[in-house]
Amino acid sequence: MPKIPVNIDGRALEVDVGRTILDVCRENEIEILTMCHFEGIGDVGACRLCLVEIEGINKLLPACTTKVAANQVIKTQTEKLKKYQKITTELLFAERNHICAVCIADGNCELQDLGYKVGMEHVRFPYLFPKCEVDTSHPWYVMDHNRCIMCVRCVRVCSEVEGAHNWGIMNRGFQVRVISDFNTPWGDSTTCTACSKCVNVCPTGALWSKAAVQGQLVKQPQMVSELVAKRKMNL
């Protein structure tokens, strides 16, 4: 594999061609915040938390979908980026109804962890308080749109890994929703295989198993990453 030189946060690195900035940073222990990224499924750059500054480019680019190029000078830890990360996090909380005290994922939630990481003490923007549906029609699982942050990990894992294509996306802007089949109840789905991959990769309490009670949800997201890695092995 040919190598190219890049400079990240003042460190001169020799990296493989064709890798994303996020991959290169993770390999070199440079911390990049992510929410929609998930090991084993394709990146879409939805959450905008992994934005980085690249010299000579006058806009911020997501590290997860931008490939490294020769002689790039990349900055990942600037005050400007930290400011945007905090704003993005606050907007994720303000957009829907995240009530940690009554959430099944309380204490086991990637959105909470993100808030702690960026030091969010309160949200500086008005909460939208949208009216969101809770779909309990599936025999084992629940989709609570109040807690969804539109990372669309569920949509991607369902199509890319399970191949069921049950989940899709409807509308745009703040009306955007994850939908089952053609916006029909999840329990009526003719495509869902009830494999639970979406439940396990969901970073918040939006998708959960009816077997869990408040604050006791345990997810096993690594299960999906391991499955993808095993399928790639030449056995």
């Binding site: 005290a101 309160h122 500086r124 909460y127």
Partner: protein, 180 residues
Amino acid sequence: MTKKKLATVWLGGCSGCHMSLLDIDERILDVIKLADIVKCPIVDTKEFPEADIALVEGSVTSDEHLHELLHIRKKSRVLIALGDCAVTTNVTGMRNCLTKEEVFNYAYIQAASNDKEGKTPDHPALLKLRDKVVPLQEVVKVDFSIPGCPPSADTIFYVLAELLNDRIPNLAQERKLKYG
């Protein structure tokens, strides 16, 4: 050093944050060495007095809370939003996606525990609910937020100890942030 004036108040919340404040146990003695508690839910003062530090629990759910909060802001040097209701509206804000009529209808008429007489209380002496519940920072300038439902006693004591010793607390840096 003159003693600081500490005041606490309970707006739209469940008083759980005040319970957590009481859970600082014997450390309350350290607090009263440095501060006089001039107002709290069990201090019988009608009007919120001048205070150096005001701990405000709960969200703004009614006209009375709004009036009280604006008054507290004028009287306090440092205003602290105590707990998730004050910071995010939390459970009290769960009615925000409904109309006030829907909320009253459910609470006083439809709920299984009601006698189905269909009467919602409307005495003029009762406080008036606002259409939407808002967190403190949407109404006044908040100097510090302590999220958590409730925030732990250790976290509350940490913030009080820092402020009473003229230091600025930093929950994120101290890894004391907690939601829910």
